[in-house]
Amino acid sequence: MRVLVVEDHPRLAATVATVLRREGMAVDVAFDGREALERATLTTYDVVVLDRDLPGLHGDEVCRSLVASGARTGVLMLTAAGTLEDRVEGLAIGADDYLPKPFHLAELVARIRALARRSAPGLPPTLSHGDLKLDSARRLVTRGGQPIALSPKEFAVLELLLSAQGAVVSTEQLLERAWDDATDPFTNAVRMTVSRLRAKLGDPPMVETVTPIGYRIGGAG
């Protein structure tokens, strides 16, 4: 899942990004409205976490532009002004959700997941293939009832493969959805992560390699 955090307070932005990455999301950070729009035109984000009071371009304008671009990006607005009027206004501009500051990180994570589910319709909170189950809200992966411990990146890759429901997911797609902009696009990180994931999921193998395009979930299904 690819998330853009737009927040002018550097430390808050960094903290939120750290926590979201720990949750297996690929997170980019923008410190003002213009930078946010630049990033949003380059990458399709599942969710944009948008502070409303931004220097330069106001958060409302960013939100309008995002909505006008027609992308299926969920916009979660953060704001210090938590009055009823502000919330109504924020939602009227086109935000999908609204969270007043100060917020709990756990709530922020849950709302981002809910938004991402909405922007990819038809997906249940629990993804499964055969005896493999992935609960994205609780970040639990089980195979035949046995829990499997995955790193955030492995989890993100498995989530993407399961969401595709057997369709091939290209290496580039995996790189875009599960890694952030800081990653070198010519890295072999995807190959490494997939091979570790294969090892952890055990036999019979579930992740197939479709050379030279990418990967798909299959096999034991």
Partner: protein, 475 residues
């Protein structure tokens, strides 16, 4: 009907009723005056003052001059005046006089004789006077009835006219009742002729516009303040939550996080201090002491000169004694904020010029610095709270944007004039001129220890936020 009755009982309740009553009363009074004037005129009509001569000229008349025309009855107090008057005016009726003159010859000689006799003359006059009395009485009665009818009609018309005149007022009242804090953008927008009511509506509209902008400024301030206060709070909370939910957290991570949370709380404290300074400046000062501006600036420079050196800035100073009456802590804050601004918004290799002088007893402080170009139309905006120049990027942004607004508030509290101009090649030139202390009622500065309150280190209001940025990014 009951409403009308109750209004009749309390006729003072509405302007409409009062106007109606006024119209009615005015009509009634002027009608009565008209009636009286008519009555008097009729009563004293020329014919009633027929002189004796006319009667004497009559061929057949042979009345001794001694026989007075007026049959004046004995003046009795109990006789109404009008009756008395009427009688004094004798036989004035044209008929009563004409008949004896013209028809006397046709009458039997005996009758003529009787009529010619002085008693006859008296009788004729009495009959004439009675006739006249009856005519006047009729005039009074009929005119009174007409007046009463017209009074009622005029009251009804007055009611309608008053309603029509007052209609815009009712519209305005209804519109004004609908306007509250939530819809201050609405206006009465009364159209119609440019009369007093329209002027009133326009005045109210202008008042609403001023109120709206004041409310907007207040709302913006609260929104900005809550953003600036809640964001570090959120950051501190997020930091703590992050480390507490981290399964691999070490003592080192905890220490790093705690340090960051402390820094956040320090920033919040500075912001709160700045807001308090702003509030205090806006509230005004209640105690003025005699201060030497150059000494305060010198103290401030002691802190800022080394920092300017670190940034490679040249500082030129020209300080001469300049006295002013004011609050020392606020003046210190003003000086500190101006110096901090001059340092912060400067360019590498730039300079800061600080001058204190006294001109005709008025202390004057000038702080000019080189720096990025400030558009002339943006200068006034910088004096507003939480305003920073253009698209300063958040990551590089410094301060809360309160520095110059605190300067403006402190200057206003001291009745000083503040002049902010963009520098010729960029930067700002700020001039603060204080009123001469001689004009002021001054209290001696309490002691040489600068007041009883504990001294705080001289700190600028909008403190540096850089240096904490991004250290936790992408860990």
């Amino acid at each position: 009907v009951s409403g009308i009755i109750s209004r009749l009982r309390h006729p003072q309740t509405t302007v409409r009723w009062r106007l109606t009553l006024l119209y009615g009363a005015l009509f009634l009074v002027s009608g009565a005056v008209l009636l009286t004037v008519t009555y008097v005129l009729v009563e004293h009509a020329p014919m009633s003052r027929v002189p004796n001569g006319l009667f004497v000229k009559g061929k057949n008349v042979d009345v001794p001059q001694s026989a007075n025309l007026s049959v004046r009855p004995p003046p009795t107090a109990n006789r109404p005046v009008w009756q008395r008057k009427a009688l004094t005016v004798p036989a004035a009726g044209a008929s009563a006089q004409a008949r004896p003159n013209n028809d006397l010859a046709a009458l039997p000689p005996r009758v003529t004789q009787v009529l010619r006799s002085s008693e006859g003359q008296v009788a004729i006059r009495i009959v004439g006077a009675k006739q006249r009395l009856a005519d006047l009485h009729q005039l009074i009665v009929e005119s009174s009835i007409a007046l009463a009818v017209m009074a009622i009609i005029s009251a009804a018309l007055g009611w309608l006219v008053a309603g029509r005149v007052l209609r815009p007022l009712r519209t305005m009242t209804a519109a004004a009742q609908q306007i509250s804090e939530a819809n201050l953008h609405e206006r009465l927008a009364l159209d119609g002729p440019r009369d007093e009511l329209r002027q009133l509506a326009d005045t109210i509209d202008r008042l609403l516009a001023r109120l709206e902008s004041a409310f907007d400024a207040q709302r913006r301030f609260v929104a900005n303040a809550s953003h600036e206060l809640r964001t570090p709070l959120t950051a501190a909370r997020a930091l703590l939550e992050m480390v507490m939910t981290d399964p691999r957290a070490t003592v080192e991570t905890y220490q790093t996080t705690c340090r960051q949370v402390l820094e956040e709380s320090e920033q919040q404290e500075q912001l709160i201090n700045s807001l308090l300074a702003l509030a205090q400046g806006e509230r005004g000062i209640d105690r003025r002491s005699l201060l030497d501006l150059s000494a305060i600036v010198d103290d401030g420079l002691r802190i800022y000169r080394p920092r300017a050196g670190e940034r490679g800035l040249r500082v030129q100073t020209s300080l001469s004694t300049a006295r002013l009456g004011g609050d020392r802590r606020l003046i210190e804050r003003l000086v500190a904020n101006l110096l901090e601004n001059a340092l912060r918004h400067n360019i590498p290799g730039g300079s800061v010029a600080v001058e204190v002088r006294s001109e005709r007893g008025q202390a004057e402080l000038l702080v000019a610095n080189t720096g990025p170009v400030v558009p002339a139309d943006q200068v006034q905006r910088l004096l507003q709270p939480f305003q920073r120049l253009g698209a300063e990027r958040a990551g590089q942004r410094e301060g809360f944007g309160l520095g110059l607004s605190i300067v403006a508030a402190v200057a206003a509290a001291h009745d000083a004039t503040l002049d902010v101009q963009p520098g010729p090649g960029g930067g700002l030139a700020v001039r603060v001129r204080f009123p001469a202390p001689a004009d002021l009622l001054l209290l001696p500065e309490p002691g040489s220890d600068r007041g009883g309150a504990p001294e705080e280190p001289l700190q600028p209001a909008g403190h540096d936020r850089s240096g904490v940025a991004g250290s936790a990014a992408r860990t």
